[in-house]
Subunit: 577 residues, 2 copies
């Protein structure tokens, strides 16, 4: 610091950053204090509430799904500027009432949309398959011209905490470059928790993002702002990351869809991350969307750029249409099994033996398993190697460096760890390398045992399970501070499996009544069970993950499509009775 310069407190830096972000919203999109007060009093901010701030044309645009948006632009029915403006305005309102954005660059977005429209007018064709589609990014991805803070105050105005003019606001993550090359419009970056290692979304810059469907609850994390923004229709498609559930949790908690690929299917190059030197269990780039079609669209689009040529970490597997076709051929459009084909065989994980899911989640599993069976597919119980083992190993890797990376980033500004993380990520000695290598072997052994179990499912009927229905968490979108058990997602990261999350139901205080005869499996189960409150949870989304093996992204998307269709059919049938 220059002599005589006065240190600016971390609190003041954070406050300035918050104000700067809000100041990027056009005056005509700013809400009155009265509206903000009304929003605070609202349980559910989605649907009619946020729509009340939009014009009918805007509601109609932001109610469309990703695929319909790109189709409409390609067919000249909508312009990129119309679409971008509608989503920027919705995101602006979403942020004011829900606190879900870290970065706002709506002006650049509209400028970009204008140039895309000019391209379309000039060439009579789109720039690429995402032409004109607004895509939101978790604030780990660098976009030229704006900060990537990742929730760290010390990263404001620099690049990964370094104030080097040749890098600040000049680095672009590879996925960002790919999306731009494909024609996407980037307009905002979404909130996340300090360290990324929390299933909620809290940091010292923005404070907290709550669940827009039920403000008693968390939006989940770490890609929490993505989930919240999409629940509010401020985006139909976004990019997150997942090392322990960070794409799947906010998807499940906000009633949207998500794809968590196997790491190294999608480029992570030049994206910010926590402790990137821990490369044994890797975070993966994943996608969140308000539709399965959005996930399919972005996966096939991104892979069409052959990301492995620019990022050597990416495995060169192009989009496999043949796999999609093979699986979709096994069901009719309503999800029912094709009589001429082999039905799907799905495993069902009801309980991991440590923490029993709350009633809304168990009901959701029943709904999905029943729907699958009614559609003529098979659903069988799933009893893999103990999830407790997976959780122990996985957590050890996340903590292996004794929080040295996290502490370094915090020290840049002097900000403290948020209270939620104080028990887990205090600075301490890293574990020894021999212990680290032993843990590596334990992880590989667990992965092999899990794979062997998977193969063993052919023993009864000659058919190996295609995919497994599992909870994302043992509760619906969680009461803040009560997310005690993350093994349901973490175990899947240990295997590097691919997964899709689909929304299944919402907590319903009328039916989700705890069984008074419930006997807890142990103290962890008791703690989670006692955290259930039917009144508070009422309306909280329940999503479930459908899991396939490594690098089976096309397969799991196709299966999710069948399962989701079967669920819709079952719901329609139930509704008709």
């Amino acid at each position: 610091m220059a002599p005589g310069a006065r240190a600016v407190s971390w609190e003041a830096q954070a406050a300035k950053k918050r104000a700067d972000t809000l100041a990027k919203i056009r005056p005509e999109w700013r809400l009155s204090d009265r509206d903000l007060e009304r929003a605070r009093e609202q349980r559910d901010l989605t649907g009619p509430f946020i729509q009340s701030f939009l014009l009918p044309d805007e509601v109609s645009i932001v109610s469309m799904e990703s695929v319909d948006i790109v189709d409409s632009i390609r067919h000249g029915k909508l312009t990129a500027v119309q679409v971008t403006t509608a989503f920027c305005k919705t995101a602006a309102i979403a942020h004011q009432i829900n606190n879900c954005l870290h970065e706002i660059f709506f002006d650049q977005a509209v400028e970009r949309a204008r140039s895309l429209d000019a391209h379309f007018a000039d060439k009579k064709t789109v720039l690429g398959p995402l032409h004109g589609l607004p895509i939101s990014l978790k604030d780990q991805f660098h976009v030229k011209g704006v900060d990537t803070t990742m929730g760290y105050i010390g990263w404001i105005g620099g690049n990964l905490g370094i104030k080097d003019p040749s890098r600040t606001h000049k680095v672009e993550s590879q996925i960002t470059s790919e999306l731009l090359a494909l024609g996407a419009v980037l307009y905002c970056k979404t909130s996340l928790p300090q360290t990324l290692l929390l299933g909620e979304t809290k940091n010292n810059i923005i404070g907290q993002t709550l669940n827009p469907r039920n403000q008693n609850l968390s939006c989940g994390g770490s890609s929490g702002g993505e989930g919240a923004l999409q629940a509010l229709r401020g985006s139909t498609l976004g990019v997150g990351t997942d090392i322990g559930g960070s794409v799947r949790i906010p998807s499940a908690f906000n009633g949207i869809f998500a794809l968590k690929p196997t790491p190294e299917r999608i480029s992570y190059r030049d994206a910010a991350n926590t402790n990137p030197g821990q490369n044994t269990y890797r975070s993966t780039v994943g996608f969140l969307s308000t539709s399965l079609g959005g996930l399919d669209l972005i996966l096939r689009s991104v892979l069409s750029t052959r990301p492995w040529l620019a990022d050597p970490a990416v495995v060169p597997i192009p989009f496999r249409q043949d796999v999609v076709d093979e699986y979709l051929a096994r069901a009719r459009p309503d999800g029912s099994a094709q009589p001429s084909a082999r039905p799907l065989k799905l495993g069902v994980l009801w309980n991991d033996g440590i923490v029993t899911p709350h009633p809304p989640v168990t009901r959701g599993i029943h709904m999905l398993a029943d729907a699958v069976r009614q559609a003529g597919h098979k659903a069988v119980d799933w009893n893999p190697p103990p999830q407790a083992t997976a959780k122990r190993i996985h957590v050890s890797f996340l903590k292996a460096d004794g929080a040295h990376d996290i502490s370094h980033q915090l020290a840049l500004s002097g900000e403290p760890l948020i209270p939620d993380l104080r028990d887990s990520f205090q600075l301490s000695d890293p574990i020894g390398l021999l212990e680290y290598q032993d843990l590596t072997l334990q992880g590989l052994d667990y992965e092999s045992a899990y794979s062997d179990y998977w193969n063993s499912t052919a023993a009864d009927d000659g058919q190996v399970v295609d995919a497994v229905i599992m909870p994302v968490s043992p509760h619906a979108a969680v009461i803040p501070g009560r997310y005690y058990h993350t093994a349901y997602t973490e175990a899947i990261n240990l295997m590097n499996y691919s997964a899709v999350v689909i929304p299944v139901t919402t907590a319903d205080k009328a039916v989700d009544v705890p069984d008074p005869s419930f006997v807890p499996l142990g103290p962890e189960d008791t703690r989670n069970w006692e955290a259930y409150d039917a009144e508070i949870y009422d309306g909280g989304p329940v999503g479930l993950q459908i899991v396939a093996r490594k690098f089976e992204e096309e397969k799991i998307l196709a299966i999710a499509k069948i399962v989701h269709a079967a669920l819709q059919a079952a719901k329609a049938k139930a509704g008709a009775i």
Copy 2:
């Protein structure tokens, strides 16, 4: 140890193991002391010398290539027993004169061949694409019924040093199971160096394996016994491993072919390894063969078993015939560029800036680059990021655990490190985890920089380099104890690239005369240059590696086929002049 039991010295255990192995050779295949003495006096044991111990029919069988062998058996021209017996006998003689085997199980092999013949007689069809083909395995792969010592005395009679009857001689590596399911005949396991981390083949059990083409020289390592056995035609196809060059070096040193895939293309499950907990830079299973056709045959056969279903570490990429077809379409059978297609563009690494290749290697590079150009393809200089950086990082990973794993295995019997390794692998403190993670980031950065350089080759003519011709080592098959510089292979492991080695020439004292005006690049260059001796090296094989990017095994095999054909055409043309 039981009270009163006397410890058997490690020397005595090693001597007993050696004798036990020799005792498994049928009496009629044993050589006389006079023949053994003759062999010791011979410079070159290959070709006429070893053939002198075989019957003409046997010579004719073991002179065939892998593809012709399986074709002959499939068409009923040869039986599996005939083939197996010929290779077992040749391997038996090879071992007696060259010391290249760790395990011999010829009786089981003939029994297996008999059952394959019965299958063929009964079903009129082969069991699989490798039906009846003898395949040799480096002594890291478990075969039921026999030891895997990996050169450790403490592993004799146990499994990885543990004398557990439920595991000893009962574990089967996945690649072993795959080869058996494909119809292969397994008959021997080949020698390797203590620790696997040496470019020669020496251990306290077998002593040393020399180069059968020139007994002044080393057979290379660590898959050294494989290379030697194949040079003696005791095998046409074998399985090795490569973490720093261990498949490529013995291939180059013995005048045969090799494929080093990207790790996780081929299953390593349940194979023995050094320090398997170091999973950041992984050893890869690779193949050595007397023909390119053998490499193609085993790659497509093994992948046809879908190894990723049983081994979750394997990336699910089936054999890509379309890639093979795409590249082969770019040349005629003689390797010359198809006028209708784009010629290949090959990089050429002449010198890594640290150690200049000896004259035979530089001449070999010229031969290959000239042949490629004469065939109408492009050859351009290759100037990647400094190989010294790659070497520093790579070696740090191999040494990271302070030789704890190695020391543990040695302590089982009390045997010492072999002298060649005493400077490198003394027991010491492991490096700290933060340093390990920092090295990980350095490795990833290097990989990215190398990939960026590769992409930059399109700048001049719009065409990215397809593959790169590189030395395997800065010398022909090396004088024992003079292998100072392994960066040419190690750098490729840091990128996890795929590579094929082809034989190019042999050292020739008449032409490979050092330039008296040579100015060394530094002390390492001086040391290597002074180790050149035209007289001793005369006849030593020179192979070169052709390198492609990650998971490009089909591509690099196709390119190697074109390049090798072009080389043969150039040689024929030169010979005709």
